[in-house]
């Protein structure tokens, strides 16, 4: 079956612009996660959605970052007023409940 998909695969933007990153999870998966992977560093948790529960936003690095999940499926991660330190690969994962997480290919964000 189809895996997790993310779009765009690459995004180049100018400092100060807003960006939206999209994630389509595996059908039927109730949990959705966003991570950030910076060059030479491990994956950093950003936010977690589980069903209709309030999301766990404790990993968001600043109030410029926000995310929503519509209809329990597609999720959008928004970064406002982008900064150069936001440059990274943003990975989305989904899982059934809290079991194994399956990752998408990521969106490589470059802020000039």
């Amino acid at each position: 079956g189809a895996g997790v998909s993310q779009s765009p695969s690459n995004k180049v933007t100018e400092k100060g612009k807003d960006v939206e990153l999209r994630c389509d999870p595996i059908s039927g998966h109730t949990a959705l996660y966003w991570y950030r992977q910076s060059l030479g560093q491990g994956l950093e948790f950003l936010i977690y959605f589980q069903g209709n529960s309030a999301p766990d936003k404790s990993g968001l690095p600043s109030d410029r970052f926000s995310a929503e999940r519509t209809g329990g499926s597609v999720s959008t991660l928004t970064i406002q007023r982008t900064q150069q330190e936001d440059s990274a690969v943003y990975l989305c994962a989904s899982s059934f409940s809290r079991n194994e997480q399956f990752f998408g290919p990521g969106t490589r964000l470059t802020v000039l």
Partner: protein, 109 residues
């Protein structure tokens, strides 16, 4: 706070030369330890989940084991296509996975 440390950071092997990767962890209430493989430019690919000390799982040339403080990923007779970064992660009492920084494995023909 959950912590994961992987060693070595990088490992270079000759084809057929078996070895092990280490993942040391501290976690409050382990709910699972996960191994992933990540190829350049791609998202992590799920390999194994281990839930309790003493558990072992195998897949082709890979075998993962778990103790109360660490996990090992044993690679038997590796091939060049096994070259990748191997990531270890733990799920504790919270909702997030905590990842190590990975071991970059290179297998030379």
């Amino acid at each position: 706070e959950d912590q994961v440390t992987q060693s070595p950071e990088a490992l270079r092997l000759q084809e057929g030369e078996s070895s092990s990767l280490n993942c040391s962890y501290t976690v409050s209430g382990l709910r699972g330890l996960f191994w992933y493989r990540q190829d350049p430019g791609k998202g992590p690919e799920f390999l194994f989940t281990l839930y309790s000390a003493g558990e072992e799982k195998e897949k082709e040339r890979l075998k993962a084991t778990l103790t109360k403080k660490e996990s090992f990923l044993h690679i038997t007779a590796p091939k060049p296509e096994d070259s990748a970064t191997y990531l270890c992660a733990v799920l504790g009492s919270g909702s997030r996975l905590t990842f190590g920084e990975g071991t970059q494995l290179t297998v030379n023909p």
